[in-house]
């Protein structure tokens, strides 16, 4: 059963929510990016937007937060409830990063998050959108699986690490086709 069955509509919605949050996010970006100036007056007025609300109850989309803030080590965050950091490797790129799976609530959010983290990559979701990278993960048993195979919660529980493979890998093409067929027959 796949949460992506609603496909593009859902991802578009989460994109919009992401976008809105990004607008209000406070960052001091790099020069050249379209970002805000930094007078203290501006910062002050923006903090009134930022006063803690009781929105800690339900927040469907992941709140856009700065990477590595607050400065609490992943091992400490992992030990507390609601945190699961796994390593992410990208084929052909020297980057090795960590991502917190608990920050996301669906595969779409995760893939969007990964794309944001790695900059100019596009990651294919398993329905096939022509993107260059195929997301795979190693599960508890040491097997490499396609991201999207199992229900989201199960994935979060069993995922040990993630690897983004270049889509030319033919073995995965076959896998992907299999999965599509399976979905069609099960009507998920």
């Amino acid at each position: 059963m796949s949460p992506e069955s609603t496909g593009t509509a859902r991802s578009a919605m989460s994109d919009v929510t992401e976008l809105n949050l990004k607008e209000t996010e406070l960052t001091l970006g790099l020069p050249g990016t379209n970002n805000i100036t930094t007078s203290s007056k501006r910062a002050f007025s923006e903090t009134t937007v930022f006063t803690p609300t009781s929105s800690s109850t339900s927040n469907p989309a992941p709140k856009a937060q700065a990477v590595g803030w607050p400065p609490v080590r992943a091992s400490r965050k992992n030990a507390m409830r609601g945190c699961k950091y796994v390593k992410v490797a990208v084929d052909g790129a020297p980057y090795l990063r960590k991502v917190d799976l608990e920050k996301y609530e669906s595969y779409d959010q995760l893939l969007t998050g990964l794309e944001a983290m790695f900059g100019s990559l596009t990651i294919r979701n398993h329905l096939g959108n022509g993107a260059e990278y195929m997301p795979t993960y190693e599960d508890k048993d040491g097997d490499w699986m396609l991201v999207g195979d199992v229900p989201w919660k199960m994935f979060v529980e069993s995922c040990k690490r993630i690897r983004l493979l270049k889509s030319e890998a033919s073995g995965l093409e076959i896998r992907r086709t299999e999965l599509k067929l399976k979905e069609k027959t099960c009507g998920n």
Binding site: T27, G29, L30, P31, V67, G68, P70
Partner: protein
């Protein structure tokens, strides 16, 4: 300093240290004479083959310098003259490398030839918070390879933020027959296979401490590899391991380690298992309890072990930690040891104020306390009321998100400042703070050496007045005359930095995030903080002009980290050209960037130039 008059001591036989030094004469024959120290050397004729006085001096020095242990003293001694430099190099047994790229392994091992203990630090601290790719560097391999040849008598290795492989650990275990202590802090790259090699081959091992390190589970039961006979183990710390250990092997190991004093278990060790271990090792002084949780399988009416008695039997216990999945009903078990505790780490225990109070009211001798903010201001007030001897406090956030109501605030900080006047070090995460509370702490705790305040919401002003937090941090640098480490947060203008530059004369480490207005902020710091050695800045509007203003000081520093600031590659290149012994790394952490902007600047002095192991995403400016 020249030594002209040397009073040569003689014993009752008339022999002097000159005679004793005669054995070294052959070695000294190739040395150039240091005429100023050699009386009557103007003649040039040498019927009497006395050793040169500087040779004598060197032997005397060596004997004296053996007693000099402080790094700073040794460094100073080595600068006196060549002879002192040589003597110091021969007698330094503890080698500390603050930045693994500041000097090559070859250079270090060539200068210091009789080292028994090595400490090496690698990655910059901000790497802990995922601000740069994991595979940046700081590899232990070249170091262990060099040391395997140069230091056969090596006994101790301490590494922080280094990447260590299993192969490195195997080489270590094979190369040093006297090896005694391995401490790995915030390290990664190795797994249980490497640990098994160390456990199995290092027969003299006394200390194996894994602290906040990432260890891979290779399915090797490393604890089973310790020799079957009695071990010399004094300290075994593995509370950071994320996977289960073989309890049977652990229990047998503890039983045959009579010298064991420190034992820190990971979360896989259950409370009944903990019971079995501490009843066999009541001599422990430091204990990490493992999960300290309740098993679901324990039904009501089942006979549970008498945990309190087990703890009561540990009469030497002074340091308690662990509590990874704490079942608060078990807390009374530790009451018997509370009165002797000097250190308590509850930072993984989400207990509330009531739970904490029941424990803390007994801890009169406590000097170090790490807690989660789940204890609330009320819990901190209880700490302030009892722990009059407190030196170090760390309050970690249970929920590290920005838009939540925090359970601790300026109230807790104020209370601590009023109750714990001997405080030296504080790390405090909170969602709201006031200048008044910070000012109060600056006045009530004059012994503060480390002040790290993290207001989690970025750019948060004073919660009561709405002002920036400038005055609070200003008071800290003004009033805390011993302050060497400072971390700032909240809404801060350039004014805060002017205070730091003006009053923070002893500050060695400064950590800045989301703060300041203009280049002036960083300029104040670089021009004013003469003792600054470690500077880490992220997401602050400091640019090229500010970077340039520190040129006079960068050689005195261990490193500078600036990420998401306003620097350009061109400016970084200018720094690299102005300071040839500075390695200037520009690091790209995501995607391709074709413009001139700099995502991460990490620069450090080095005797051996740019490193040869830099990955693709690192550009070394030249």
């Amino acid at each position: 300093m020249r030594v002209n008059q040397v009073e040569v001591p003689r014993d009752e036989n008339g022999s002097s240290i000159l005679d004793l030094a005669r054995a070294d004469i052959a070695e000294s024959s190739t040395k150039t004479r240091n005429c100023a120290a050699c009386p009557g050397s103007g003649s040039g004729s040498m019927e009497f083959q006395s050793p040169y006085p500087d040779q004598v001096l060197e032997n005397v020095l060596e004997n004296v310098l053996h007693f000099l242990t402080a790094r700073r003293d040794r460094n100073a001694a080595s600068l006196v003259c060549k002879s002192w430099y040589r003597a110091e190099a021969l007698t330094r047994s503890e080698l500390f490398i603050g930045n693994c790229y500041a000097v090559s392994p070859r250079r270090a091992t060539s200068r210091f030839t009789r080292v028994r203990s090595v400490a090496i630090k690698g990655k910059p601290r901000f790497a802990d918070f995922d601000l740069m790719p994991i595979n940046w560097g700081a590899l232990f391999s070249p170091w262990v390879a060099a040391m395997a040849k140069a230091y056969p008598w090596l006994e101790k290795v301490y590494l922080k933020r280094m990447t260590v492989t299993d192969e490195d650990l195997v080489l270590l275990s094979e190369s040093f027959p006297c090896f005694k202590e391995l401490v790995l802090v915030c390290c990664d790259g190795f797994g249980t296979s490497g640990l098994a090699a160390v456990a199995g081959r290092c027969r003299q091992l006394r200390v194996l401490d894994l602290v906040e390190s990432e260890v891979d589970d290779d399915d090797v039961e490393w604890l089973s590899y310790f020799p079957e006979s009695q071990t010399h183990l004094e300290s075994l710390v593995f509370d950071c391991l994320q996977f289960a250990v073989n309890f049977d092997a652990l229990e047998k190991l503890v039983a045959r380690s009579p010298s064991l004093k420190k034992l820190r278990l990971n979360g896989s060790v259950t409370t009944p298992q903990l019971y079995r271990l501490i009843t066999q090792a009541p001599q422990l002084t430091h204990l990490g309890t493992g999960s300290f949780g309740a098993l679901e399988a324990v039904a009501a009416g089942d006979q549970e072990p008498d945990y309190a008695s087990a703890f009561a039997a540990c009469k030497s216990l002074v340091c308690l930690s662990g509590f990874r999945e704490i079942f608060p009903d078990y807390l009374p078990a530790i009451y018997p040891v509370c009165t002797s505790l000097t250190s308590l780490n509850f930072s993984y225990a989400n207990i509330n104020a009531e739970h904490l109070k029941s424990v803390i009211c007994l801890c009169h001798k406590l000097q170090t306390l790490w807690v989660l903010d789940s204890i609330c201001d009320e819990g901190l007030q209880a700490v302030a009321a009892t722990c009059k001897d407190l030196r170090e406090l760390r309050v970690f956030p249970e929920n590290p998100n920005e838009d939540v109501e925090g359970p601790v605030s300026e109230v807790g900080l104020q209370a601590i400042s009023e109750g714990c006047n001997k405080l030296q070090s504080i790390l405090y995460f909170c969602q709201r703070m006031t200048n008044a509370a910070v000012v109060a702490m600056s006045k009530n705790c004059p012994d503060l050496v480390v002040f790290r305040l993290c207001i989690i919401g970025r750019y948060r002003p004073d919660a009561v007045t709405g002002e920036p937090m400038d005055e609070g941090f200003g008071a800290i640098v003004m009033n805390c005359k011993k302050l060497t480490r400072l971390a700032v947060s909240g809404l801060l203008t350039d004014r805060a930095f002017s205070y730091i530059g003006k009053y923070g004369k002893l500050v060695r480490t400064l950590s800045v995030a989301f703060a300041g207005d203009t280049d002036m902020g960083l300029k104040y710091v670089l021009e004013g903080c003469h003792n600054l050695q470690k500077l880490e800045i992220r997401d602050s509007p400091f640019g090229n002009e500010a970077l340039h203003s520190g040129l006079h000081h960068y050689y005195n520093m261990r490193f500078v980290w600036m990420s998401s600031c306003k620097l350009t590659r061109h400016a970084c290149q200018e720094v690299a050209r102005a300071l040839p012994h500075l390695v200037v790394e520009v690091i790209r952490s995501q995607g391709e960037r074709n413009d001139d902007s700099v995502e991460i600047l990490y620069m450090y002095r080095s005797l051996d130039g740019p490193r040869s192991d830099a990955p693709q995403f690192v550009t070394i400016m030249q």
